[in-house]
């Protein structure tokens, strides 16, 4: 039986917005195709993980306090993570994790939480605490040449600047900054984004893109994924498009 190995970073600290659901969705879509998903967890105090031995690395969003505690820990692995990305390991980074892979996060009081600095972008919190980018968000994403609408929910005060390759164009919502046209960061094997929802739950094609990428890389052959019954996902998307488009007209 084929299998993929996933590393789940800081599951006890980066778990605020149900982001674990992304792993749940990956596992579901893999196991329905008879592919096993092995999930290893790493948190502060555990043995150093061998990043390159994994097919996917996942990290989610957390509370501010916890994010500053773990940033010190994460930085110890900077070189290993760089190496893994170069090797083609897939990284799925949501919200807080997205920010942590950039240069730094500057808090409301001007305090700086250093990031891994693997990517060139950086994030600064908006001075006014009550102002956050909150709401349903729809992106247009390019997956191997196919346009696909990605639906999620954004909830962030941080404004991310200097993003070279965005994850998607914003159709509804804010994005990296207030009223931005772009959201997230995307290269071949890295998706870093603010989207909760969880991201993969409403976007089966995106999930399959990640699965295909990982299988192709691991087994070095063309992969044709068996289609699944996505009736609930399709109806869910249809309904949200309907609701959000109506709201767009009112604006």
């Amino acid at each position: 039986m084929r299998e993929l190995k996933l590393l789940y970073l800081y599951p006890d600290m980066l778990e605020l917005y149900g982001d674990y659901g992304n792993i749940q969705v990956l596992k579901y879509r893999l196991e329905k195709r008879n592919i096993n998903l092995i999930i290893d967890r790493y948190s502060i105090g555990d043995k150093k993980p061998d990043f390159t031995s994994y097919d996917i690395v996942f990290a989610g969003g957390g509370a501010d306090n916890e994010q500053s505690i773990l940033s010190k820990d994460l930085i110890k692995f900077k070189d290993d993570i760089k190496e893994a990305i170069k090797n083609g390991v897939f990284f799925l980074l949501i919200c807080g994790a997205y920010q942590l892979f950039g240069k730094y996060y500057k808090g409301v009081e001007g305090n700086i939480i250093p990031g891994l600095g693997i990517f060139d972008y950086y994030t600064e919190a908006i001075k006014d605490r009550s102002k956050r980018c909150i709401g349903n968000i729809v992106l247009e994403v390019n997956l191997n040449g196919d346009k696909y609408e990605v639906i999620g929910f954004e909830n962030h005060g941080g404004q991310t600047y200097n993003v070279k390759n965005c994850f998607g164009k914003v159709l509804v919502g804010n994005g990296n900054k207030f009223e931005d046209k772009e959201e997230g960061y995307f290269i071949n094997n890295v998706i870093a984004t603010y989207l909760h929802g969880p991201l993969l739950s409403k976007n089966p094609k995106l999930t399959d893109y990640i699965i295909e990428y990982c299988l192709k890389r691991k087994y070095e052959e063309e992969i044709k994924l068996e289609p699944l019954d996505d009736t609930f996902e399709e109806k869910c998307r249809e309904e949200l498009f309907k609701v959000l488009e109506i709201k767009k007209e009112i604006r």
Binding site: G21, Q24, A63, I69
Partner: protein, 444 residues
């Protein structure tokens, strides 16, 4: 003189609002307060209160606990004014007091008991005197509306720094116990606890907060978890969590719905662990004011979608409100502890009052849910169906309907026991649809 005028206006408005409310079939729990607050922003300071004010705040369990405290005090023959309908923000509390005061603003009661929204505790009690504050728990709740739990806790902590009245705290929630340290000079801090129950676990099985000691960031150690992050915890570094108990509930028996406190047996209508915590708070209040709680807790039941039981053409149906992951998980816990065959209806809306973000449903433990069929409904019926499907619950046994009427109709196509869980704005429409279905099918 000005006060009398304002209150007179309020009384007249209330009279018309009652009639209007009856015509429109709308609840006027906040409206009166809203209008009067516009005219007189400091109206709360104008009331003449000569009796103890008892307040309850928490993420979950405010309405149940406040109602139980009121019921208990009334059983002791006292008169109580209370916001029993759950209008727990400033305007709701203004409305309650306006409806129950004399023309000069005097509240004629032996006690006032209030449930207060977490973020409104500092606002309301800057303006009216507070004798006792009960804090039950803090869980993650509608993050897009409320923000992180930590922000709320800090707000209340700030208020407590200068508060020296009774403070009744849940000793099994690390987010709550820390509030007892806010004012070192307050000698009136009382902790209550519930001893390990049958389904407590060694590891945390449900989403929760409070993983680190608030004083030195050390990871807290738990002897056991009752539910979510509620349990017996201790900081290995500074010993945080080792408080002297005022009330300790022991020998919780959910099958026989009984427990013991200080050698006395209590029999209740509660078959779930989280309500036992609410009752521990009620018993704390009873002890502080020399009242008897045994008789009241024997028959207290809140029939408003809080473990409410109804019979629909011979099919037992249990309705439960769940606004956040912990609320949903404790409802599923109750369902799993019930060994009868059953089916589940889960209704999920994403209206502003619910929070627009439905990501939290992935913090609900469907992996262990023990039912034959699940029906989903509400504006986010399909999100819910996807959530349940990806927990590997057989997709052929999941049905999703945007319309609650259709969902209810399908639910009663079989006659096994039903559990119904609905989030905030979904609860009343769901109850209504159930009761209407009952009425319709009875005629046939």
């Amino acid at each position: 003189m000005y006060n009398i005028l304002i209150i007179t206006i309020a009384k007249i408005l209330n009279f018309f609002a009652k009639i209007l409310g009856k015509i429109l079939k709308k609840d006027n729990g906040n409206l009166l307060g809203k209008i009067i607050k516009k005219i007189s922003p400091n109206i709360l300071t104008k009331f003449k209160i000569n009796c103890p004010v008892i307040a309850v705040t928490a993420t979950n369990g405010k309405t149940t606990t406040n109602n139980a405290i009121k019921y208990m005090i009334e059983k002791n023959g006292k008169k109580v004014v209370s916001n029993t309908e759950g209008n727990n923000m400033e305007t709701g509390i203004i409305t309650t007091l306006l409806k129950n005061c004399t023309i000069t603003g005097k509240i004629k009661a032996d006690f006032i008991t209030l449930e207060v929204d977490e973020s409104y505790v500092p606002v309301v009690f800057k303006k009216i005197p507070l004798d006792s504050l009960v804090v039950l728990n803090f869980f993650r709740d509608q993050l897009d509306r409320n923000g992180e739990v930590e922000t709320l806790i800090l707000k209340i902590n700030e208020f407590l720094k200068t508060y020296s009245g009774n403070l009744i705290l849940n000793n099994d929630d690390p987010n709550v116990v820390r509030l007892g340290k806010a004012n070192k000079n307050n000698k009136n801090v009382y902790y209550f606890s519930v001893d390990k129950y049958k389904y407590a676990t060694k590891n945390q099985t449900e989403a929760g907060e409070g993983k680190f000691c608030p004083f030195d960031d050390t990871k807290l150690e738990y002897e056991y978890y009752q539910y979510s992050h509620i349990g017996k915890f201790k900081c290995p570094k500074c010993g945080y969590g080792d408080e002297e108990l005022f009330i300790k509930i022991e020998n919780v028996d959910l099958e026989n719905m009984s427990f013991e406190e200080n050698g006395e047996m209590f029999f209740t209508k509660a078959n779930n662990i989280y309500t036992i915590y609410n009752f521990a708070a009620v018993i704390s209040i009873a002890k502080l004011y020399n009242l008897n709680a045994i008789d009241a807790l024997k028959d207290f039941k809140l029939n408003n979608g809080r473990s409410e039981e109804i019979d629909i053409n011979g099919v037992k149906t249990i309705i439960n409100l769940a606004k956040n992951p912990t609320g949903a998980n404790v409802s599923l816990r109750m369902l799993n502890e019930d060994k009868e065959e059953k089916e589940l209806l889960f209704v999920l809306n994403d209206n502003p009052a619910d929070g627009l973000d439905v990501s939290w449903i992935y913090d609900i433990n469907f992996e262990t849910v023990n039912v034959k069929r699940i029906i989903t409904s509400g504006k986010r019926a399909y999100d819910m169906a996807i959530r349940i499907k990806t927990s590997f619950f057989d997709k052929d046994n999941i049905e999703a309907y945007l319309s609650i009427e259709e969902a209810v109709k399908s639910l009663y196509s079989s006659d096994v026991k039903k559990y119904v869980i609905a989030n905030y704005t979904a609860l009343q429409p769901t109850r209504k649809a159930l009761l209407e279905y009952k009425k319709e099918t009875k005629k046939e």
